[in-house]
């Protein structure tokens, strides 16, 4: 498929702050791409450069193969849904939605027809004559969406579209937006700092940190094969352990972490024996073993003492001291056959298993502090 948006080596500086540094990105037609990162990582600036609101210091922006770097927003075939929606406070809902058509020179009757249709789609026909200030947040969001879509842009840009919504509405809107994307087949580019949102909605995710792209991939790729401890930690949660390489045996890297031995499947490069490396293990990849359970020879079996239990309703997170610097966190799903009461209590020694393929090894430990976020 053709790339509808291409960003080539774009950089942007605000005063002395480097917002975006040499970013290149290609977005396919019809794709739902999310740019994910903490605040100040340059994700919004990148989006605003696609929209034409920021002019890059260096690099080019291409839309549909055409260089639009020098075009102002009003000449670009993209529309943006702004954070906090930026609805026109002095106009009615209908006028807000019809604004783009009115500006494009559409006749009053054609505009009215399309606005009516849009209002029906977002189920706000009864609010056509209301002002934005009279709408609930969820209604405002739908108006903003309709206003951005009514001009049939080639790309829809979404700047933190859920940030104003409460948790419950957010979940519903995520599904709604995803459905909308599937229905109209338009290219969506969304910016968010919320990793769940990125994982749930996107076809591909671009993770940014400090103005640079860290990794681009599908949600599964990013989750299962994070390129760095930063990505591992930013998408979902991860146990990050600093271990020492003991030996490398036919595609498996054997490391020592405290008294335990943890094996990781080698992917590509292999570290030197004796090197300090970082291991990333997702809490849900760790299995609590029954006392007498037998695991296959090639599966890691670790022993530790339960230090704390955190009840999450449908699951329990166990903090486990396995003798290293950082306690290990295990996500244990509760089921109809097993409630929290049947779990071993704090202070008990237990065995856990983890597949070497679920252990991601990072050679470079210099730039990221181990950190666990519950």
């Amino acid at each position: 498929m053709a790339n509808i948006v291409e960003i080539h080596n774009v950089s942007k500086t605000f005063g002395s702050v480097r917002a975006v540094e040499d970013v290149s990105l290609e977005i396919e037609e019809g794709e739902f791409m999310t740019i994910l990162g903490p605040s100040g990582c340059g994700k919004t600036t990148t989006l605003r450069m696609i929209g034409g609101f920021e002019y890059p210091d260096r690099g080019r922006v291409l839309l549909g193969g055409e260089d639009v770097t020098d075009l102002p927003p009003y000449k670009r075939p993209v529309n943006m849904m702004f954070q906090d929606f930026a609805l026109f406070p002095h106009m009615t809902v209908a006028q807000n939605i019809g604004y783009g058509l009115h500006i494009a020179g559409l006749s009053k009757s054609d505009t009215a027809k399309q606005v009516d249709e849009a209002l029906r789609t977002i189920e706000l026909s009864h609010k056509a004559a209301s002002r934005p200030a009279e709408l609930s947040i969820g209604q405002k969001q739908r108006v903003a969406l309709a206003r951005a879509l009514v001009r049939r842009p080639q790309v829809l840009l979404l700047d933190e579209p859920m940030s104003a919504l409460d948790a419950q509405l957010r979940g519903a809107m995520q599904v709604e937006l995803k459905h909308l994307h599937e229905q109209i087949g338009l290219t969506f580019i969304m910016v968010t700092h919320d990793q769940t949102e990125a994982l749930v909605m996107s076809d591909r995710v671009t993770v940014m940190d400090q103005g640079e792209i860290v990794q681009i991939g599908t949600p599964t790729e990013l989750y299962d094969h994070p390129a760095s401890p930063y990505v591992a930690n930013f998408l979902g949660t991860s146990n990050i352990l600093v271990a020492t390489v003991r030996e490398i045996i036919s595609g498996t890297i054997v490391t020592d972490y405290g008294p335990n031995m943890i094996r990781a499947a080698a992917t590509g490069k292999t570290p030197a024996v004796g090197a300090r490396v970082m291991l990333s293990i997702r809490p849900e990849k760790l299995r609590l073993l029954a006392q007498d359970a037998i695991v296959p020879e090639d599966v890691n079996r670790l022993e530790g003492v339960i230090s704390e239990q955190f009840f999450h309703g449908d699951s329990v997170r166990l903090s486990l001291d396995i003798g290293g610097d950082t306690p290990l966190v295990i996500h244990h799903q509760l089921s109809s056959s097993q409630g929290q009461g049947e779990l071993p209590p704090a202070g008990q020694t237990v065995n856990i298993a983890v597949d070497p393929s679920s252990v991601t090894l990072f050679e470079d430990i210099a730039d990221h502090e181990p950190e666990y976020r519950a």
């Binding site: 604004y99 200030a133 009279e134």
Partner: protein, 289 residues
């Protein structure tokens, strides 16, 4: 929202010893507030009411007791050609001053809000200076300036004088509004295909309209009853305040009371109109949800 307010109201009623004192069924706090408000209103409006009352009094000397009802003074006022000329001049000057204030003030406010230039802070303070200067000083300095430039004094010089003295009002009001203005709605307009001038007319202007109308009205009023600057800068033409002032030296005539009453009436109408125009369209549309 409504429920919340009702709850707050309940809490207030339930704590009579807080700051709502009641005695024998009377709401003393409420009474005291009403009396205080009445005193303030009386202090503000009794002189004006007096003026209106005497404009209808048949005794040519402004003195109690009232002697009888008459419209004569209004008739006299509106057949006095000197007075009418002065009134016309005043209206003309005020209108022109407003135009000058807007023409200079609005672009200045935009420049201050949106552009960085060296000496910006200094410039902002400098623009505001004329409003703090006594009219006397502005008047004298402008008189010096005009005579130096060999400009003969006329209504035109008065208009320029008022314009410079009052521009600061427009600048402060519009600048304050722009500071609170959400620039993202301009970006949204641009995003939806509007060229900069379309964005300005359809989005920016409607949202700062109130500040512009409000400051225009204030400037108009201040110009309308301005004496010091006018005194120095007018040629042979008279303005209404100057005319009244010169007449009053021979004693207050009921004619002046009459024209004063008319101005009060017009002011009240203007006030109502401005309240209507400037009432926030968002609020005006109700608070239904």
């Amino acid at each position: 929202m409504a429920i919340q307010q009702a709850q707050i109201a309940n809490v207030r009623r339930e704590t009579p010893n807080g700051w709502h004192f009641k005695w024998a069924g009377f709401d003393i706090t409420g009474r005291a507030l009403a009396v205080a408000a009445g005193c303030v209103l009386a202090f503000l409006y009794i002189p004006i009411v007096t003026l209106i009352v005497f404009s209808f009094n048949s005794n040519p000397i402004t003195r109690l007791p009232l002697t009888g009802w008459t419209f004569d003074w209004y008739e006299k006022a509106f057949t006095n050609s000197n007075l009418l000329a002065a009134l016309g001049n005043s209206l003309l000057i005020a209108a022109a001053a407003v135009v000058i204030c807007l023409a200079i003030g609005v672009p200045t406010a935009f420049a201050l809000d949106r552009y960085q230039f060296p000496g910006k802070v200094f410039f902002r303070r400098l623009v505001l200076l004329p409003i703090t200067l006594p009219g006397l000083i502005t008047g004298i300095s402008m008189l010096n300036f005009f005579s130096m430039m060999d400009v003969s004094l006329s209504l035109l010089t008065v208009m320029v004088g008022h314009g410079t003295a009052l521009t600061a009002i427009v600048v402060t009001n519009v600048y304050a509004r722009l500071q609170r203005f959400d620039r993202r709605i301009e970006e949204a307009s641009s995003d939806l295909g509007a060229r900069p001038w379309q964005t300005f007319i359809k989005v920016t202007l409607p949202n700062i309209r109130n500040a512009i109308i409000g400051s225009s009205l204030i400037s108009f009023t201040l110009s309308f009853d301005e004496i010091p600057v006018t005194f120095f800068l007018t040629g042979r033409d008279n303005t209404l305040p100057m005319y009244i002032w010169s007449t009053i030296r021979r004693g207050i005539t009921p004619e002046i009371n009459a024209i004063g009453s008319v101005i009060v009436g017009v002011s009240i109408i203007l006030l109502l109109v401005s309240v209507f125009i400037m009432s926030d369209p968002v609020k005006k549309a109700g608070t239904g949800r």
